[in-house]
Symmetry: C2
């Protein structure tokens, strides 16, 4: 920061040490290259054998071994774990270049209805990388729908939530009975009902719990709501696992209830938070200057919402009538808590806080540990 | 995941490759150890010369060089940058073992009022590592206050916000005039006024923008609100920079206004979010199962609040009367936005969204990029 402070000797010593560090970093780069190549070879072997790329047990045991070795060398176990996890992410990304094993080789082609949307494109890409023939069907393609559907073994619906059910009902009732019908909508009960009514063959509802900007499906979650003839689409479950994702089976109603709390309410309260900053004429630059890592993170989580499509959020919020109830309940709790604050009843606030803390139980300290790790990595990113 | 699928040849090939990977990882560990040692030596040289440990320009130019070298070797530049940033964090942590240069060698001792609090302990530790003699003064020590203050060159107040001003006014009006009086409170205007009134000598208000659980002050922000006789406490500013922190000078009123938005409101809305989950009888296990990285992160940010002291949060919220206004404004915006939703005016919602998005401007995509990197590292942490 203040080089004028350094005398010649200091500068010389530092330059020499930095030369050594440069040297170590060169070796580090070579080692990273080598490790990525080796893991690439593992991927190729797994690909040929059709084994999923993500192997949680192997990963856990490898990390445990490394942590132990690190301890012996007086290197922090968390350091080597963090570095290896980062490397694994890179390797998962590279898996895509190798392609994936095709589980079902006699399927016929796949039609993605809404294939030009971002999530549709991601699934198209994954399916193509696994050797499937994929056709896209978008708004303008309906006149040729019969030709596109002819011979399809799997139809995946991924259109805006607001038109999903109507589209299924009105356009997908004539699919061949052997064809699998699936959807990727973020609500599940109604689309699943619509699919079961419109189509006589195998039906499954999927909700990929990630945005289309993930580089790899490794470790990502896909919620599965079974519809009909599970044995007929079992291969698709295996295929998704080969991509590295984890399947979570769920009841459609239970899933939707959780999504009201998870998605709709959280999106809405982030939206209001952004709206509030705007109306308060906050100066984002100043806020960022004053921001601790935790607040920078929260600001980023709110700001990211506004980089995305308003239609998407409107759809998610309007998708379930019940979301409005959840959003309204939050408002009520906010109002009550504010009244408690205004009354100056500090002790009452503390008691309510403790009540909620008790309810969180062991999750609270667990979340604190988790978020500490996240905050540290946010701080790492700071350019200064 | 499904080892039964693998034939003997596959298993053999994988074992062999994993042996190679183990080997590379051993070399990696040795290289990490070596790099940490070299950076430790840099720290020792800097320590001797009294140069701050965090050198943003050097860091940026080193990273740029590595990224370029990585590109040439077909290694992702972001990979090497992430790994080096993680390594730098480790090195900053290790700095503590070396200690820091003492900028002011003829100070007399330091008294930390509230030294047994977590933030007080952190500052005690940093000051001791820099060669200062530090005395702690807590609730029970007031009978001996005269002896503890006698000869002090610096008094730092870090007690609960609710009693800060009163304590300054009633207990700190008899300090030697040459003594520096500073505080670490998260609001600044009132404590600064109180210090300027109670004490005739040098006064400075500080707000460390980080929790006491940071391992190192490197890259952390300390807000500085100047009080009186800046030249007398200039050394303290240098000392804090030597610890690696970045100083942000601010007007106390402006700082407090930002904190109403940053701290009080955000804490309160996280509190209500936790309260809401509790009242809705949400099942955290289920929520986590369904959670995408972004929601897991948000849940962690809420949950972490409840692992902490309710008194601390009550203090922060009650510290500024104006916070209640900010919290009330948010409620109003929430209510209005909910009415818009209930009216079914989808277009109105979209227009309001776009209005806020325009206001965020370039920050929205910037936050999206930032949060994407964070979310990836959250996903890296998943054990499966």
């Amino acid at each position: 920061m203040d080089n004028s402070k350094m005398n010649e000797k200091t500068t010389e010593d530092l330059e020499k040490l930095r030369g050594h560090i440069d040297n170590v970093d060169q070796q580090l780069l070579h080692l990273l290259r080598k490790r990525l190549d080796l893991v690439g070879q593992v991927g190729a072997v797994k690909h040929a054998a059709g084994v999923p790329i993500y192997a949680p047990e192997r990963e856990a045991s490898m990390l445990a071994k490394r942590r132990e070795e690190a301890s012996k060398m007086n290197v922090s176990p968390q350091l080597i774990e963090d570095i290896l996890r980062r490397l694994m992410r890179e390797s998962y990304l590279n898996e895509k270049d190798v392609g994936f094993k095709q589980v079902k080789t006699d399927l016929g082609h796949v039609v993605i209805v809404g294939g030009k949307g971002k999530l549709g494109e991601l699934f198209s890409q994954m399916l193509r990388l696994s050797g499937y023939h994929v056709k896209s069907l978008d708004k303008d393609d309906w006149p040729n729908a019969d030709a596109i559907f002819a011979g399809a073994g799997l139809v995946i619906v991924t259109v805006p939530i607001s038109i999903t059910c109507e589209l299924i009902t009105s356009k997908l009732s004539q699919l061949p009975e052997s064809c699998i019908l699936a959807d990727l909508t973020s609500v599940k009960a109604k689309p699943l009902d619509a699919m079961l009514t419109a189509h006589k063959g195998p039906v499954v509802g999927l909700h990929p719990m990630f945005g289309p900007d993930v580089g790899s499906l490794a470790k990502q979650v896909v919620v599965v709501c079974h519809g009909r003839d599970q044995d007929k689409y079992q291969w698709l479950m295996e295929q998704i696992q080969i991509w590295g994702a984890r399947l979570v089976e769920a009841d459609a109603q239970k899933h939707d209830k959780a999504m009201q709390l998870v998605q709709a309410m959280r999106h809405f309260s982030s939206f209001v938070y952004g709206l509030n900053l705007y109306r308060e004429e906050a100066d984002i630059d100043t806020l960022l200057q004053f921001s601790s890592p935790i607040y920078r993170l929260e600001l980023a989580m709110v700001g990211r919402l506004f980089a995305q499509s308003p239609e998407l959020y409107a759809d998610i919020i309007y998708a379930q009538r019940e979301s409005l109830t959840a959003i309204g309940d939050y408002l009520e709790n906010y109002t009550q808590a504010l009244e408690l604050l205004k009354s100056g009843d500090r002790q009452g606030f503390i008691e309510q806080f403790e009540e909620v803390a008790n309810w969180f139980g062991d999750f609270a300290p667990q979340f604190q540990r988790e978020s500490r790790a996240m905050l540290q990595s946010v701080n790492d990113m700071k350019a200064g």
